[in-house]
Symmetry: D2
Subunit: 431 residues, 4 copies
């Protein structure tokens, strides 16, 4: 499946022509709004767990980001839409002052969704002025603001799925697409890499295209020889793990993972539901029979690691993954495909599903690269302050906007989290 990336950005937007950045800004903002077509005001107001946020909150928060970090400091005469929104829609920027407690975002029933859309329009109009007129300086954060909004597009999908999965009615966010021509799952093969002294991370010299601060600096790492699976682990393979006592045998599990699995009663991936007719899987297209050919999705790091131990393999490090990905085109099943769930691996040889389909757990903790420095000011809180306790995931997923990820892109979650579109690619030590 070839998914064209809609923008193949070679330099910061601040250095592009006004019409180009305007087009890009509009495209991203409209894409966000396109997500709410099937949602009711109640759907958009509810918060199903502290980790998730209401759709309405995402719509407003991304707007607050542009207002706070670009319009207020950069557009002379800009009038803040509502001064109380800073409290309501700041996510975690301590430098920007106090804010609505995260677990209470579902209690913000006012402003209504109509008010939030008016807020978006107000900010969009001002941004159009800024994008048309401003020089490079005030636009420095434009790429960040748009990348931020794209991240929240994915969060909207993750959070809506979580919400709908709590409902006894199992609503569908979108209708299912006809399945791709079914092919038997190809046997898992490993691709060999020799390792050695390699480079990884984003090179952020002047004029370099945008990347998050946590992707750099580019630096050297030594890799021992390793092998990487050519596709993701499937539901069918996961069923074999389960049938072999995968969730009942502590010898496969990390200690923290075992404790969590016991405490929470885990016995299958997050969105699997047992029914008289066998397993079903809740997804953005509703509750559907399990497809053994699809990649297993919504598993925690603990489960991924236990599976790898059971399979006699391990998870890759992020350096291994990035090195392996260096020659793979950034194509795959992203949100633009409209499928909104991971697809079976295509037939063929070599690494498949590296981009799109599912975020791939690595065994690397999310930590700063050598020489990392967070950006100055409040946006320095964007990434750096989360560098403890989480693991890196790579490659994007079926809910990620096409064009959003890079080979150097580092996503990160806590090892017990399961509501993101996370999957498993195995690795092994090389010969």
């Amino acid at each position: 499946m070839r998914i064209d990336r809609p923008h193949d950005q070679e330099r910061p937007l601040a250095q592009t022509a006004a019409h180009e950045r305007l087009a890009r800004y509009r495209a991203v903002r409209r894409a966000t709004e396109a997500l709410i077509r099937s949602l009711t005001p109640e759907d958009m107001g509810a918060q199903s767990m502290p980790d998730a946020s209401p759709t309405k909150w995402h719509l407003a928060h991304t707007t607050w980001f542009f207002e706070t970090f670009m319009l207020t400091p950069g557009l002379p005469g800009y009038r803040v839409f509502d001064p109380r929104f800073g409290y309501l829609f700041n996510s975690y920027y301590e430098a920007e002052g106090p804010r609505q407690p995260r677990p209470a975002r579902g209690l913000i029933t006012r402003p209504s969704i109509a008010d939030v859309l008016a807020y978006r329009a107000h900010v969009d109009a001002a941004m159009e002025r800024l994008l048309t007129a401003a020089g490079e300086g005030p636009l420095e954060l434009l790429d960040l603001g748009l990348a931020h909004e794209e991240q929240h597009q994915e969060l909207i999908l993750m959070d809506i799925l979580h919400l709908f999965a709590q409902s006894p009615l199992s609503p569908a966010f979108a209708p299912p697409r006809p399945p791709l021509a079914s092919v038997p799952t190809p046997p898992l093969a490993y691709v060999e890499f020799a390792g050695g002294l390699v480079q990884m991370g984003h090179d952020s010299g002047p004029g370099a295209p945008f990347a998050f601060d946590n992707e750099g600096p580019r630096h050297r790492v030594w890799l021992e020889p390793f092998r990487l699976a050519d596709r993701l682990v499937t539901n069918g393979e996961w069923l074999r793990f389960m049938a072999d006592g995968g969730y009942e045998r502590p010898e496969f599990w990390l200690s923290d993972g075992w404790a969590m699995a016991r405490a929470e009663g885990w016995r299958a991936p997050f969105y699997w539901r047992e029914s008289p007719d066998g397993w079903r899987v809740m997804g953005l297209t509703g509750l559907r029979p399990l497809d053994p050919a699809q990649p297993v999705s919504h598993v925690s790091y603990y489960e991924a690691d236990a599976y790898a131990a059971w399979a006699g393999a391990r998870l890759p490090t992020e350096a291994e993954w990035e090195h392996a990905a260096s020659s793979v085109p950034i194509e795959g099943n992203f949100a633009g495909s409209g499928r909104l769930c991971a697809q079976p691996a295509p037939a063929g040889e070599g690494l498949r599903q590296m981009f799109g389909d599912l975020w791939e757990w690595t065994r690397s903790a999310y930590l700063p690269y050598p020489g990392f420095r967070p950006a100055a000011g409040a946006v320095g809180e964007y990434n750096g302050k989360f560098m403890s306790g989480q693991f890196v995931l790579r490659g994007g997923c079926c809910a990620t906007p096409a064009g959003h990820v890079r080979r150097t892109y580092r996503n990160f979650f806590y090892p017990q989290q399961r509501w993101m579109f996370s999957g498993v690619r195995l690795a092994m030590d090389g010969a």
Copy 2:
């Protein structure tokens, strides 16, 4: 202030003419729907704490009550609107099967409010047929169903106030009414009662007007002489309690209350907010300056009891209260007044504010009367199973529908709860 009771019911509705019960049914159902005029779909979907429920849930649950306990068993050929609603909108009837966990009612974003109103219309149409055609038997639970719906009208107001009180925007449910002509608070006086062997509780013989099962049987109790305050404790008096260290001095407090007050950081009634301009009080008409003449509202049993100890008094028992109320007309500031908050005591002599304004804490635990038997079947769960750990409140409040309460009416809450319209009337031992 004279508030006419809209219905002065002398016998069960099942024994009235069809047009009479139809009128009563319609009036109650329309009154519920009138409450949502100022609310958005998001307001009606949110749940601000496990004790509270979304407005939408109240609208559907009361409807489910008629469907489940009257239509399904009593109307031949009735078709259930949606068989999944039983799971969603059953509150606590174990006999009716499993149900949505109470703290997760805010996650029911589907059905939408429009769907719920359609559900109401469907049930109303069927109820009209039942009310027109049916004999006494199938209508046995009509009074209960309507009293139940009235209770949920009050809960809608309590719960919306709680939700709006969580919002940094402090929305108002309704515009404030012009204040009544201000009169100085009359000094607190006590009315004397001689006690003796008295009767209390509802007499539920055949043809008797409706009352909840927990109000009976009527039975004898011995009362020692006592004195009852002629009005409610005011905000101004409560300020003196606070100024005297009321929230910092354990000697006034029950042990459980002191522990709770410490753990939760209580230092004023539930909806009081400190501001640079002094105390404000959040209410259904928004966040407004504290009025010292208004009765203090939204206090827990623990606070009420501590206040009484500080004042050298005590709370009345429910037997004392009911005995004192026996000659007081059931009039007062109920929801029909549209004020939606407690009003200053009118000038005059004798017991005032006994009905309406605020529910009055008694020192009586909510326990069965001698000879109490819960009703048969699922509706037997209505009251009886809550008879541990709670205290009785009497008299109704400014959010209670007029005509709903009786002299024998027993409301009940846990001693730490504060989100209902609860106030304090003092009592003392007699001479």
Copy 3:
């Protein structure tokens, strides 16, 4: 079984001769110390839950009580043993200042048990001086101090049982006595009472024998006719309740009780343990096979109430119990018997097991009697501040010192608590 009460006190100890009060003081203090014979220092230092306290703490706390409330104010020149002990061994007297948090009493490894026994000796020596010399005034609290120590004797037994029940080794506090000659359990019969206007509570005029403040004042209550079971519910009867789904059928349970039973996984009384050979019961004499003739013990109010509902009966009120007990001698299986567990009901007619064996749950909330006033000063915290949320139990148990209880004696626990020696006597409405 006739158990002589060791003292049949007709007036306050302050009004007795010095040798008499000295004898009584010594007897109570020695009885406490006799309890630790089989215990190791580790046994006496451990705290198995926040509700329980280490034996060592009990030994010191009762001593602190005499020191604080009698010696410091009443014995000229008394030197406090260690000024830091006030912090360590104050239980809940807010008026006496801050104290070791209750759940952290097991962390008081110093002072050692030897130090605590030295503390006891120091206080005993001073008390001997006070008891010999003092007039009535300084001795006013002597009865209270001794009754207090007796209560802690029972608590030591309750708390050691709880501790030993946590141990996989199931240690025995004492060796079992040979069983009484086995008699078949007599069928349960009910004794009828006509009710009417009766008196209850302790009459505390001058010269009256000691009672706790919560037992008075004596006052009138109206009782409807009732019937009271002539013996306690047995283990055998409880097995039938369980076999009939007693722990799985919500229709028998109070709502709070059902929630607690689900949350905690209750499926049998607190100290019952399932084994391949059937149920065993952990007790002070170790883990022993269940005896169907013994009264069921260590049940919560919720379980007692559910059992009564299942049995078509109810629990008695405390007024009913006290009225029925008025002609029953205060004899029974108290701690002095050395059996340390409830015994099968003796053959015969009329009320049996009213005193001793097990505390009997009543359906009465623990609330103040009409006219109740707590004592002045810190000891006013003894009883009154616990008057919310608890239920009254009557009659004493096999761990209660003989002579400690009265017909008016009110014990109280929360409805979910189970570690005390609590049992069930049924009641019914009269004809």
Copy 4:
């Protein structure tokens, strides 16, 4: 301060002469028992938090380790001391079956300390037979068993300090030593390292001296140039951090750390206590005035990281630390010095305090090295299953037995933990 390492082991004990391994075994076991000289039975039985264990439990658990992993499989005819001890004293070996829940270790009042010492003697006698007679195979785990016991020697000290720090009496485990001749704290200097491709980790070929499995395999890593502080951060420097708002300014903190610090009310290191005379520090020698020249101790990773951010520096990686330590002798202030607290840095040049004094937080997550494989069998659970969520600390501390640590030694704790002897060494990127 030169602290001789008592054993400078060049090969596995299984390959040494019988008298040599006997001497080593006895030395370690006697060292454990020497720790309890000042402790009472109550001290040894109490558990002050779930992370800590009673001394008695440590004494028994280390013994169980030898019994389970060496005697039962390796000594023909060995009789287990008490078959119930496996349940009581297994720490976390799932392969060895169920066990006493960790937070309930303080409830094991039986066996008594005397019984546990008898258990030790029983196992020691059997071990002497095994050590005398056995060939290399059965002795394979001897090094592990002794290293394990040494780790628990340190845990005993950590846990006793935690217990005593909960006591209002602040007992001392040991008398303080006279302070070393006081020297002014030398200014902090940085030692430069060029980095490059270096080796790290333990080389575990045949005949190699013992190391834990998590220290290997030896492997290459690429290091960028870096600088390492020549001594630990002192209390005096930490006071400046605090005076500059260190605990109140979120800009220095990781997000999880800030949340933890707010939730727990952190405002100083774990064992600092404010008093009218200024800060005091609770330690194994009691509660003593803060010494500004001593290294700051008992800080979490979050605090260490925040301090580094405040200081314009960072924490070292474990690879940097190990590389820098490669030429430093393994000498320092270990438990053998008897000081039991970190000492001021000695005057001089170059890296000081690398070994002993305090464990040094690194910014490296505790993860497997390339090629890591846990040992086969139950002892494979020793280290590998903890490889998520923790950070590595290096170098040993004043409570670590001399000779226990290696340059490759990896200790690990969660970032919020504070009860171990942890300190801070700063690092910076190189030129």
